[in-house]
Symmetry: C2
Subunit: 282 residues, 2 copies
């Protein structure tokens, strides 16, 4: 496995693979890899001849007062995991390599879909995501790119961006990978201290409860939101950022469940902001 850190090296490698007619898969990450990322790699290995895993903690997608500085980083451990999973190249550029002229002046923005949920809590976040993903797509020119359903809104936004801008990449989305007790895997789970880890179960417990209600015929979004809110509020350490039920493609809130619905939430456990969601087909 190669570790490349410059655009020039990355582009040269891609050009060589293109000449060999290889299908290229990209798994864009911020590193501190977990089994969720590994599931993306496994899928990429199946579809493609060469797999690039990018590791870049993108300053553009972090807001003021967010965790950019302390976001966990461990390239050595990541390299080991990536190698074991059969990644061909880790692309780990520096910030000046990605934003060489100081402040980036060009941005890719998706409207409407970014207004609610994490878009409302984290202004500018999705603009940072779509801009860096566009850059990575242009650098690596992947045939396929892999994203986790854990970031459900990001998935909807990137799909829409790729369609709207006629990007030559197929977006593949893989299900959330969870711990045995239901907690969705996240690099940020490392922030959970002591009993917070147990409290963090409440996100998926609430989502499971909603799914049970839906299985029993409940279709009223406000009823479901009430049940979930009550459950989470019973947990001392939990503070709700948002819980919403939205159309899975447009991210518009829905009153009565129908079609592809996304139940999504962001909840603080202590100081750690966790997100989780389930996709429900009604």
């Amino acid at each position: 496995m190669l570790l490349l850190t410059t655009l020039a090296d990355m582009k040269a490698w891609i050009t060589a693979r293109r000449k060999e007619g290889k299908k290229i898969g990209l798994v864009p990450t911020m590193g501190y890899l977990h089994q969720g990322h590994m599931a993306l790699v496994t899928s990429a290995k199946r579809d493609c001849d060469a797999v690039v895993l990018s590791i870049f903690v993108n300053p553009l997608q972090f807001g003021q007062g967010e965790d950019y500085e302390v976001y966990p980083r461990d390239l050595k451990r990541d390299s080991q995991l990536a190698q074991e999973a059969g990644v061909d190249v880790i692309f780990a550029p520096t910030v000046p390599e990605m934003y060489p002229r100081g402040k980036q002046k060009t941005f890719v923005e998706v409207e409407k879909l970014t207004e609610r949920l994490c878009g409302a809590s984290r202004p500018g976040h999705f603009r940072g995501v779509t801009t860096v993903v566009t850059k990575l797509f242009n650098i690596i020119t992947p045939d396929y790119a892999y994203f986790g359903q854990k970031d459900a809104q990001q998935v909807a936004v990137i799909r829409r961006m790729a369609e709207d801008l006629n990007m030559n990449v197929q977006i593949e989305v893989l299900p959330i990978v969870r711990e045995a007790d239901g907690l969705a895997l996240s690099s940020r789970n490392v922030y959970l201290l002591g009993t917070e880890r147990e409290s963090a179960r409440v996100l998926y417990q609430a989502l499971e409860k909603a799914q049970q209600e839906i299985a029993q015929g409940e279709k009223d979004a406000s009823m479901l939101l009430k049940v979930m809110t009550r459950m989470i509020e019973q947990c001392d350490k939990a503070k709700i950022d948002y819980i919403e039920i939205v159309d899975a493609f447009t991210m518009e809130p829905i009153q009565k469940l129908e079609g592809s619905c996304l139940i999504a939430m962001a909840v603080y456990i202590g100081k750690t902001r966790l997100i989780d969601n389930v996709l429900v087909e009604v």
Copy 2:
């Protein structure tokens, strides 16, 4: 020469050329071709194995009350000119083909460089330009793309966009082509009625005057602007939208001429808004 109108046909043609290892040049236009466009084609023919000329009057880059509806269109005449110039494909998609889902939700924006000059007079214009050019770049994946210096701010914006987003295309810029009396060629010159055509000479006359002053040692931007403004104001039919002297790359106004300076103006002749500029190396 082929005339293609769908994305599918265009992409299939590109894929076939790529398999042949052909270098592709793109000349993006809004049609109603003139010798300025033809100079772009000539240059593309020289650099590339296959030349695509796109014709698309892009609604996204026209503001309310601008000339989108009446912008001159003549595909038959354009096809003849393109064929004679050796264009391989005209790509002339319909609006629904380019914006299939109604309102486009994804936009590419370049900040700062778009704030002044035409960006100030035409809010949203450059966002429309950068978005459609990104789409065309993704559809056609050109190795080279050709733009005219007549749209000097557009050139600066697109160059910056291509760099900032790591686009895999070389931007080539060709000088303004002028009529014998100095009027810069523009599809919009067709709007000029009767004596307006003669009045339209005043734009380049003012720019020439400024160049003479600079040749004689004048470096003070406000002095030059004063001289040009006075000249244009003497013309009954002319109404200045803006005259500015800016850094040719950042589009920031400059007081004392130094380096690559752009003297740019937009002037209404009757109801027709014309733009012109000269690049001055000091």
